[in-house]
Symmetry: C2
Subunit: 341 residues, 2 copies
DNA sequence: GTCGTCAATGTAAGCGCTTACATTTGCTTT
DNA sequence: AAAGCAAATGTAAGCGCTTACATTGACGAC
């Protein structure tokens, strides 16, 4: 219950026989202080076990050394790896990470963004571009550096939307659809993510649709489904009932693909014998499930790393920061084959 | 480049024609303010788009509404779910989450704990009990409420170690070993986690060893291996070379088990025909891999939820907060069977 | 009508730092 | 040895809030 008041900067100053300003300088710009004093101060710091109060520092200096990240969920592998790398990179520069997860709800996300800004974050990591424009206005007004990860579109004006570090979801999806078509599939359906408020999910659907249109494939069913294995199983089952069974099913992500594979198998279908199924993301389970998933590899680690670097650059006001488009590529495994003839 | 100074509490006060204290009260203890003034203040807040500066608040009020969490990694499913639930629960009480991941390195963890404390976190979530005692002293001195998740031991003095919210790793492991023995296995090896600096990994090994000793099984090889599928594959391959092939392999976690299963299969072994393999944790892949894993179910969500509740209780200084032991149970799936006769 | 009480509000002193500006120190120049 | 100058240090004014304490005013008791 005894609360021995913690040493403050002033105590250190007194013990070291210098002014508070000098102590502060030792801590923040050590090179402005001559070695002798610096050592004396260091000794006082050690002796008292002094630790700076970051809130006071943030208040006085108007920078917090905290960056915020609002992600849809930390529960699944998609963002976990990127977030981990992001955090590690920031850590190197002594930034801490304030995370919030929005559960894909726009209103929750907005609240969290505002909260983080209130906390004085120096920068912000956001996922995807789709959100209420007034959030962007807000961020601009407050001059908060931010980067948007996971999405990339040529046509977007980057200066308006902070910096983009992502990949072209539409193009990537079109590429894998092309591959499926090249294998000879004609009846191709899609199990998609929920496109509402999610530009990545929407872009993947667009990629599918445009490629299908290119080949004049009609009636390519697209069913949207939440990010969940069991829901994917049900969605796939429902799809078979209402639209029949395609020879190939394109899934908007690996989790949906896993659900589809499991359901197909439990309904007696052979994958890829009776039906080919492709994923997107290339998370761990993609290579573990049997058959392993042919999928689009997304560079999760790079997304995290480059997001961090770009954000740091913006925070430090470095010139000529560019949007960054990362590459995806297809990983061919077992779940895609030519259709039975 | 125009930086219109953000409205501060004083501006709101002036516009509403009240004192700063009243505005502050409206924001923090609205019931102490009569409705008429409250409305007037609210109007001023809206009009100015005022947002409080949390750093100033934290400095003045000596509470930050931030809790910190230092976890070994956010990259894998083990902690992700718990962290997500933890965050959601805290969110309900308007706490934000400052996360750091230590990559299982004690020195990194210590640094991060100190950094979080410097940031004035109101509470701390730590994983496992094993760490330098001076960290506990430090936390006690600073009177930082903290809870330790994932571990639970009867014999530990809770008051010394903050609060425990976990399960008995040793007992849980002993239970699944018992099951394996009951199936008739006699040659049982273990693929363990790295026990150094990790009380959970150590406890799981202890559970294995004590149960094996109980049955007088000698030569039960225990190989430690990092948390990684590929490393597990190699470790399992190495184990076969040096110790031969057991009829059952107990793995300290599902990731190791998956690695072992994949390697076994690629070496032409049937699981569970030629070798039974068990996991621990019951993460998603456990039920997706083929054969699905018989494993110990760990209540990840509950760990997160109860950790949050316990921490909140400590922060609010509620009396009689107890350590909490959560239950685990075995999920029998396909990877465990009786040995060939 | 006066006083006491209590709820509502105001006053102002910090919270522990940073930093612009002022001052001192220790050199180099001449 | 005096002058001049840059580097090192000191002084003190905030940063935007909270809160202990003081003040005000409304109302009922006497």
């Amino acid at each position: 219950m005894s609360k021995p008041p913690l040493p403050k900067l002033e105590d250190v100053a007194r013990l070291a026989g210098v002014s508070t300003a000098t102590v502060s300088r030792c801590l923040n710009q050590p090179n402005q202080v001559v070695e002798a004093t610096r050592k004396r101060v260091q000794k006082a710091v050690d002796e008292l076990g002094y630790m700076p109060n970051f809130n006071a520092r943030s208040l006085a200096a108007k920078r917090s050394k905290i960056v915020g990240a609002v992600i849809p969920t930390m529960e699944n592998a998609i963002f976990a790896r990127a977030l981990q790398v992001f955090q590690e990179r920031l850590s190197e520069e002594d930034f801490d990470l304030l995370v919030a997860s929005s559960s894909y709800k726009p209103d929750v996300e907005e609240k969290q963004i505002r909260s983080l800004v209130s906390r004085g974050v120096d920068g912000l990591l956001l996922i995807g571009t789709k959100r209420d424009p007034k959030i962007y206005e807000f961020l601009q007004e407050r001059e908060i550096p931010f980067v948007i990860a996971w999405s990339f579109y040529d046509q977007l004006d980057a200066s308006e939307y902070g910096q983009l570090v992502g990949f072209d979801n539409e193009k990537a999806m079109a590429t894998i659809v092309q591959l499926v078509i090249d294998k000879g599939h004609q009846k191709v359906f899609m199990l998609a993510g929920i496109a509402d408020n999610n530009d990545r999910a929407a872009a993947r659907i667009a990629g599918f649709r445009s490629k299908m249109a290119e080949y004049n494939f009609k009636e390519a069913a697209v069913i949207e489904c939440e990010y969940d294995i069991d829901k994917a199983r049900k969605a796939f089952a429902g799809m078979r009932q209402s639209h029949g069974t395609p020879t190939a099913l394109i899934c908007a992500n690996d989790v949906l693909a896993v659900g589809a594979v499991l359901e197909a198998q439990s309904q007696g279908l052979d994958v890829p014998g009776d039906i080919s199924i492709t994923g997107f993301d290339d998370i761990e389970i993609a290579s573990i499930i049997s058959p392993s998933l042919t999928t689009v590899h997304v560079p999760h680690g790079s997304l995290g790393l480059h997001s961090a670097n770009t954000l740091l650059a913006k925070i430090h006001d470095e010139p000529s920061i560019k949007d960054m488009e990362l590459d995806t590529y297809i990983v061919e495994r077992q779940s895609l084959a030519a259709p039975k003839t």
